[in-house]
């Protein structure tokens, strides 16, 4: 079985600058949800159910650092679609469709959303474009019937839901699927020898432009600083008389 893992390079959400206008200037990392997808692919291979894991990302050469990190985790080889434009989920999904058609994986595993854009769309759009089954917000994956089907547990607003998908299919990951491993030094050394294939949109036969334009980015109005209260009685008085909420 071959697994394709698309991943995005995002500003580090643990960096102090993430919550501000300068977020794009902060250190980049693999989108945490995509890192969970990579980890899951590695575990599937480790239990003998996958033979190859291919990573794919879209961006300028600067994202090679995150590609190396994915290869160091254990991804076998990577593709970078060389495209430095500000893409929207519409365009990203169409580029990924071309990569899926070229690579013909049995399953695509990817994060449910990128922590910078928070759109939560690409996996579902990709599934729709390909006409493949999908399981979103997944917290467990099991392959059945000689890997012709996947049984997935999904985290929903109401609890948990189990669905089965005929393969090939798209799976998007939620937080509790696994905890990604740290990159090891031997992993990093091995990663240097692993191939990164750089292709343009033209070379994979896709001609798409984003339909979404970001006109402006601004901070939301700040909430006024909090008032410290010293006791339960004072808190209750404030909530009753000032806030009038209890």
């Amino acid at each position: 079985m071959k697994i394709l893992v698309p991943f995005k390079s995002v500003p580090d959400p643990n960096d102090a600058t993430f919550a501000g206008e300068a977020a794009s200037a902060s250190k980049s990392v693999i989108n945490p949800f995509d890192e969970i997808a990579i980890e899951e692919a590695l575990r599937i291979r480790e239990r003998g159910e996958a033979t190859e894991i291919v990573g794919v990302t879209i961006g300028a050469p600067s994202v090679d650092e995150q590609i190396r990190a994915a290869l160091a985790m254990g991804v076998d080889r990577a593709i970078r679609i060389d495209d430095a434009r500000a893409l929207d989920p519409y365009a990203v999904a169409r580029i990924l469709r071309a990569v899926v058609e070229k690579e013909a994986p049995h399953v695509v595993i990817m994060g449910k959303q990128a922590v910078d854009d928070d759109s939560n769309q690409v996996g579902q759009i990709l599934a729709g474009l390909l006409g493949w089954p999908q399981a979103t917000f997944v917290s467990s994956i099991e392959f059945l019937d000689n890997k012709t089907r996947a049984r997935c547990t999904r985290e929903t607003d109401a609890g948990l839901e189990v669905v089965e998908l005929d393969l090939p299919a798209i799976i998007t990951t939620d937080l509790r699927l696994n905890e990604p491993r740290y990159v090891s030094l031997p992993g990093l050394i091995r990663a240097r020898r692993k191939p990164i294939e750089v292709l343009t949109c033209d070379q994979v036969g896709v001609n798409v432009r984003p339909l979404t334009t970001v006109l402006a980015v601004a901070r939301p109005p700040k909430r006024p600083a909090g008032t410290r209260v010293e006791s339960v009685e004072e808190l209750i008085t404030k909530l009753k008389q000032e806030a009038k909420v209890i």
């Binding site: 501000g20 939620d174 334009t213």
Partner: protein, 320 residues
């Protein structure tokens, strides 16, 4: 021809109230709008929607649609949109709409904007405001194309009035044979709770990692929520530690709440959590660390030991 089509969410028994908030965006966008209900045996659900100002309630009712499988639902939505000619396809952000609507957008070759909190109309063009980077920033975006799919943050749009003259309920015929067949619903695990729904509650009490275990969490967070008639929420850390189930998680990747009163117990206030509570009217933080970021966001904060303060608080509220 309707300008907008609003996807209504239900739990097979009744309409999910928050899914009605998208109707308010349809009203702001202007023109006529239709509501779409998909499921099986949904007569009662459909008839509860006739007074919301829509031109019609479109109902796709078929045994093949009994469960919300994304491939089938997206196909039905795309067909209904093509038939109605709607330019805006709307839903309220939830795991239901986030699963299904992007797929429908793919079938319609339309762009999509997630989590709209406001629109701005200028010179005949519309821009949408949406949170990014865990709600720490807002982006103003515009989209091209003949059609667009939009999901709204429930907290940002009011519940629409239900006082219009009843509209017709129109059956949308589904050819079950032609629906996709690659996904199967197996089971669902949902807890029935006597507490109010987290996203619709007036009061939410929420707990973090310092609550230690499931029993303590239930005793303190649950006890305070019950004293106030509120719902329970949790941080990612509390859910990961098994103190609370996944559907309690509030934040960037969980639920977004905007109650009148939000009480945070032992929550430091990572931006991923704050993303889900920022629009609450009053935020109370009870925490042992006065320098925790939550104290900057809270309306009131009380510094001290949860194990002493919370039982006192429950007692005082119950006495009052």
């Amino acid at each position: 021809m309707a300008e907008s089509l609003v996807l209504i969410e239900h739990d097979r028994q009744q309409v999910k109230r928050s899914s009605l908030h998208a109707i308010t965006l349809a009203q702001q966008l202007g023109g006529e709008y239709e509501l779409l209900v998909i499921g099986h045996v949904v007569n009662k659900i459909s008839s509860s929607l006739v007074s919301l100002g829509a031109t019609s309630v479109i109902v796709a009712d078929d045994p093949a649609l009994a469960e919300p499988l994304a491939d089938r639902y997206a196909t039905v939505i795309a067909e209904a949109v093509r038939k109605s000619g709607a330019k805006n396809i709307l839903g309220t952000s939830s795991t239901f709409s986030k699963d299904i609507l992007p797929r429908a957008a793919a079938l319609l070759d339309a762009p999509m904007v997630t989590d709209v909190v406001a629109i701005e109309q200028m010179d005949g063009s519309i821009s949408y405001r949406r949170p990014i980077n865990a709600g720490s920033m807002f982006a103003k975006v515009k989209v091209e194309g003949e059609r667009r799919v939009l999901t709204v943050r429930a907290a940002a749009f009011e519940t629409p009035a239900a006082n219009a003259a009843p509209c017709p309920i129109v059956r949308f015929d589904v050819d079950a044979e032609s629906l996709p067949n690659g996904m199967r619903f197996i089971s669902r695990e949902e807890r029935k709770s006597d507490r109010p729904d987290l996203t619709e509650a007036r009061v939410v009490v929420s707990g973090g990692r310092p609550l230690k275990d499931k029993e303590t969490f239930e005793r303190l967070v649950g006890g305070l929520a019950d004293a106030l008639g509120g719902a329970i929420g949790a941080t990612r850390a509390a859910v990961d530690a098994g103190m609370a189930p996944n559907d309690y998680q509030i934040g960037q990747t969980g639920k977004v709440v905007a109650p009148e009163l939000y009480i945070a117990l032992g929550i430091s206030g990572a931006i991923q959590h704050l993303a889900g509570i920022k629009d609450s009217r009053i935020i109370v933080a009870i925490n042992k660390d006065p320098d925790a970021p939550i104290c900057q966001t809270a309306t009131y904060f009380l510094v001290g030991d949860l194990y002493q303060i919370v039982p006192q608080l429950i007692e005082s509220i119950r006495r009052a």
